[in-house]
Symmetry: C2
Subunit: 327 residues, 2 copies
């Protein structure tokens, strides 16, 4: 089963004539509280486990797409045209190949208001926004679940970036992945805050796709990951339903650190944390000892995402003046 087969299953006979321009579509970045780490299918981005995320408000990608009468695609990122043989352009062109019914070429304009490739899920919101723009350009009128599958084919966690609030990516069991997409949770939790603590905006040492593959292949501890996720899911769902912030914080931090533990036990070891990351962790634990309800999660990069409630925003800002609080 390859990506084109899945696209055909979803689009069926929707070979609509495209508009010349899509409207600009926004998709938020998302932060997993229960992480996606490890694939059961590397082509279709099918995960080993479910995952659960929270969207990042108005932080994310805004994308528009238009048909151009040229020999090649054109990609603009934050108003700068991208070299055609950059990894960014090559990845997007390969993805768009899946949708060219009449060999048309595209101009894609993406605005990101988060740093690129620093563990802030820029590819996730990027692919989600692109899928929304494509859906508009071709007037496919797909369901969110179908759009979520299309986004996943671009980048796994992109399937969770179609929703505000909590999104649950169900891993599915089918080989074609038609049951592997994200759905929103009903619960809203307006008091919940995420604080971006960017300790290093530079590029990653190793991309998350390679890091995942190496972990699955070389970490013996990884064998317990699915077991831990299953347990954490039960706890996190209860915490969300009960609006029990401490439980949410504990299980999220525990899950994130366990994911990093699987990487640290890979060979060669993968340590995304740098000195600033570790200092921030120790500071958070010290503040928690003093009674502050402050937790963190960490993705495939050195930055931390602080988790806290609105009532503590001022205190968090005081201790971490550089934090960018999302509400």
């Amino acid at each position: 089963m390859n990506k084109s087969d899945v696209i055909n299953l979803i689009l069926k006979d929707r070979k609509n004539t495209p508009k010349t321009h899509s409207t600009a579509k926004f998709a938020p970045s998302n932060i997993a509280l229960i992480k996606y780490w490890g694939k059961r299918d590397n082509i279709l981005n099918l995960p080993m486990t479910d995952s659960l995320s929270l969207s990042l408000g108005n932080k994310g990608a805004t994308t528009s797409i238009e048909i151009i009468d040229k020999e090649n695609d054109e990609f603009y990122l934050n108003n700068e045209i991208q070299n055609a043989d950059s990894p960014f352009s090559l990845r997007l062109s390969a993805y768009l190949d899946l949708f060219r019914f009449k060999e048309e070429h595209y101009r894609v304009r993406t605005q990101l208001n988060i740093p690129l490739a620093a563990g802030l899920a820029s590819s996730a919101c990027g692919f989600a926004a692109l899928v929304l723009a494509l859906n508009d350009l071709y007037a496919w009128e797909l369901s969110l679940s179908e759009l979520s599958i299309l986004a996943r084919l671009g980048s796994g966690s992109a399937c969770r970036s179609l929703y505000k609030g909590f999104a649950w990516w169900q891993k599915g069991i089918h080989a074609n992945g038609m049951d592997s997409y994200a759905i929103p949770l009903e619960t809203e939790w307006p008091e919940l805050r995420i604080g971006l603590l960017i300790v290093d905006g530079s590029k990653k040492l190793i991309d998350s796709r390679s890091a995942m593959e190496r972990t699955v292949k070389t970490s013996q501890l990884y064998a317990m990951w699915a077991h831990q996720v299953a347990h954490d899911f039960i706890v996190l769902n209860e915490a969300i339903l009960d609006k029990d912030f401490v439980r949410l914080g504990e299980v999220s931090e525990h899950n994130a650190l366990s994911m990093h533990a699987t990487m640290i036990s890979a060979w060669p070891p993968i340590v995304y944390s740098n000195a600033d990351t570790v200092n921030a962790m120790h500071a958070i634990w010290e503040l928690r000892k003093q009674g502050l309800e402050l937790y963190f999660t960490q993705d495939a990069g050195p930055n931390l995402k602080l988790l806290f409630l609105e009532k503590d925003s001022a205190v968090v800002k005081e201790h971490f003046p550089g934090v960018e609080i999302i509400d």
Copy 2:
């Protein structure tokens, strides 16, 4: 089964009249290349897995013991008398209770030439030296295996501190632990070097006994630890027999990081590393990329122990001027 039962099994009818003074006995600190992490018996310090260590040359503890005509024991550490209700004194007194046949009291003098409780196995060499001193004081003439068991009752990894070079602690299977002691490996490897990189000589955040217990109880990834150790043992033994330094370095670093991974995935998380530790790790990985055969291991503390060959001593010293090289 408690400690006294084990002592009786070992000492049998050796109720010798003590000398007034033991001679001063030295035991080296030891650095595990395959770690001891997790107990199957918390009283007798029986481990979940085998472990394998390298001794630290002349770094360790020198201990003498004498019988005193007083109501209480007296403990000197580096020539300073220790408060009777300090954790140090309480722990030693409790251990010595196992050996008082006629309610005698002791004066124990210990000289450590390594920092106390900073992940440099000070309690390991301390108990090993004490056991050697007791063996002399009472003229027990015990075998090294028997002394290794006695040392284990004081501190698990102390059982490996009776030997120069490589020591293999066999976990044993019996409930009384009479088959759980260290034996020396025959192979000598004079070119092997350990460099102590003390990034923080201060006391630990959490003692290793508590850290182990918390890991076994709360880390789901820990379930794979015994599996990993079994695998690492095969690789390390081959590396030692073949004098294959790169393999020794890789498996030792992988094993140490995996042990820390089990702690990071415990709850609350246990992170012994601080900013300096992480900086040193990244520096080591960078030097390795440039071709230097440099690896590390890390115990329950922030310090790293560098592993390299004599031929690279000068280069290592150049990159880490603070390193203390043991030969």
